[in-house]
Point group: C2
Chain length 339, copies 2
Amino acid sequence: MPGLSFLTPIQDELEQVEHLLRRPPPDTCAAIGEALVHLVDSGGKRIRPALVLLSARLCGAGLERTLFAAAAIEMLHTATLVHDDLIDGATMRRGRSTLNATCSPAVTVLTGDYLFAYAAYLASQTENTRLMRRFAETLMIICQGEVRQMSGGHGGRFSYREYEQRIYAKTASLISLSAEAGAILASSDENVIQAMRLYGKHLGLAFQIVDDVLDFTADEQTLGKPVGSDLRQGLFTLPFLLFIESDPQHPVARRALEGHYTVEAVGASRLSDAAVREAVQAVVESRAIEQAMEIAGRHIEWAKEALGSPALSLFTGDARRDYLAALLELADFVVRRHF
Amino acid sequence: MPGLSFLTPIQDELEQVEHLLRRPPPDTCAAIGEALVHLVDSGGKRIRPALVLLSARLCGAGLERTLFAAAAIEMLHTATLVHDDLIDGATMRRGRSTLNATCSPAVTVLTGDYLFAYAAYLASQTENTRLMRRFAETLMIICQGEVRQMSGGHGGRFSYREYEQRIYAKTASLISLSAEAGAILASSDENVIQAMRLYGKHLGLAFQIVDDVLDFTADEQTLGKPVGSDLRQGLFTLPFLLFIESDPQHPVARRALEGHYTVEAVGASRLSDAAVREAVQAVVESRAIEQAMEIAGRHIEWAKEALGSPALSLFTGDARRDYLAALLELADFVVRRHF
């Protein structure tokens, strides 16, 4: 993410994380080594490593362990995407082919498993048992959230509360851990750890809401995948929920309420392109996008409030103030971004 | 495993591990909780927890951390089986239905992922970073071994060396870690840790060779799955390799050498029942079974030799001698068992 000023104070460290991510793990075979490089090259915004680095710098954690924590969290994120793409049958991510597009399901499952193990290995290099426990707990939350989503279906259940639980599990839990990680590594005061975790939680919720908005509003070139991909999978996200709520008589909303877009109805065949485009257009033309962005904005305010915690006011000195300012800027960026 | 005398000194602890394995993880949803109980109920020989407990008792590790290590390793083993069964399309294991027999592939993948995370969580409860690192490394070895096996195919490559690498990754690596775990938890001398690891490695190699033999010789009732299941998947194990080597002109061996049984040839359709039974019978009637058991026996001798290491002779006292005797008995049991 060139030109983003909140990355300036951690530019060097981010490059070191990149180097760590590209370094082949001990005793890797060619198949896994190539898959790893392909996945790391497929990029991503590296928002999680940036958070680990900023939080570690703010709280005063040692560099080496911080780099391993940042790489571990990004690797864990990458591993979850490998299995997600397989399950969703996605062939493109960030404009590049997914692993399941070129490998058998068996090899994709096992390579994903390998990446989970490698992420845990990187986490173990921090030699911090609390962080390693939080790491495992977070993966449990992520997987359980997905199992719930799969086995529950979504038909007829449109509560905002459920949506928030789902995106907490999917995204905010790991972003929250990223923000908390630096404070854990620095053995900060419990109040500092909680403040950083809360910041990360609201940041993560906002991040996913914006992702869900972009799935309706972004152009496909920038997104690197087709718009409306959530709906295509029978997944109702915040903009769609708000749209249905505000205009339940709209033909698209009525079809949704009658169960036409649920996972069960969509089944293996998926919705037609025309049906998805019609629904996307209806949402974009409604006030739902604006309302969703307002909710995201509220989470960003809460995230920034968490950084105003008295516990964090103990951090003084110019350098520390720079990291705090960067974390505030990063929060603003999350609702400003278009990719 | 009632009536096995080497379990007597750790009977109570084994029950505590069982209790730990059945305790629902923090904040589990119903779907995952039920899957977990079903998988734990599906039993298994609990040889890995027994090894952790005996090694911990021998080396003098604390009880609570030992119980978590034993549960963590058994959970990791269970998690790998969930994905293996999905990949192999196996519907029965140990006489019970597999998870993929009742759940969708997506839910099976994600539940397996959850179990990996839960295993790592249990491992984190040991608060031992070295054990957690070894835990992650071992899962990397297991997954990489499977990816290699998948992507390499087996056509025309029949070396014993390759077979040994494969079964080390598949089985001996985790059994080795089980034996090593107690010494790590006890912060034993490096020589003790290495001796226990070597014991576990040879024990694990013998264990898998015997498993591979039983896949030819056991009755299906005891095995809980059809005989010849490896061949059905195009997987050549030691008895089959020895059979081909000793009688390459046998019609079955010739077909094998011509590639009729390889993964590529077997494809999605699998071998016919008749073809598998013919091959199984040919192997059983040859000297291959006896030769494979001889090789397993050699590994058991090496395992016992590792326990004779001078490093372990420091352990004196009646209780310690009991644990050492139990580890020796366990080694003998591995080549004596019929299930």
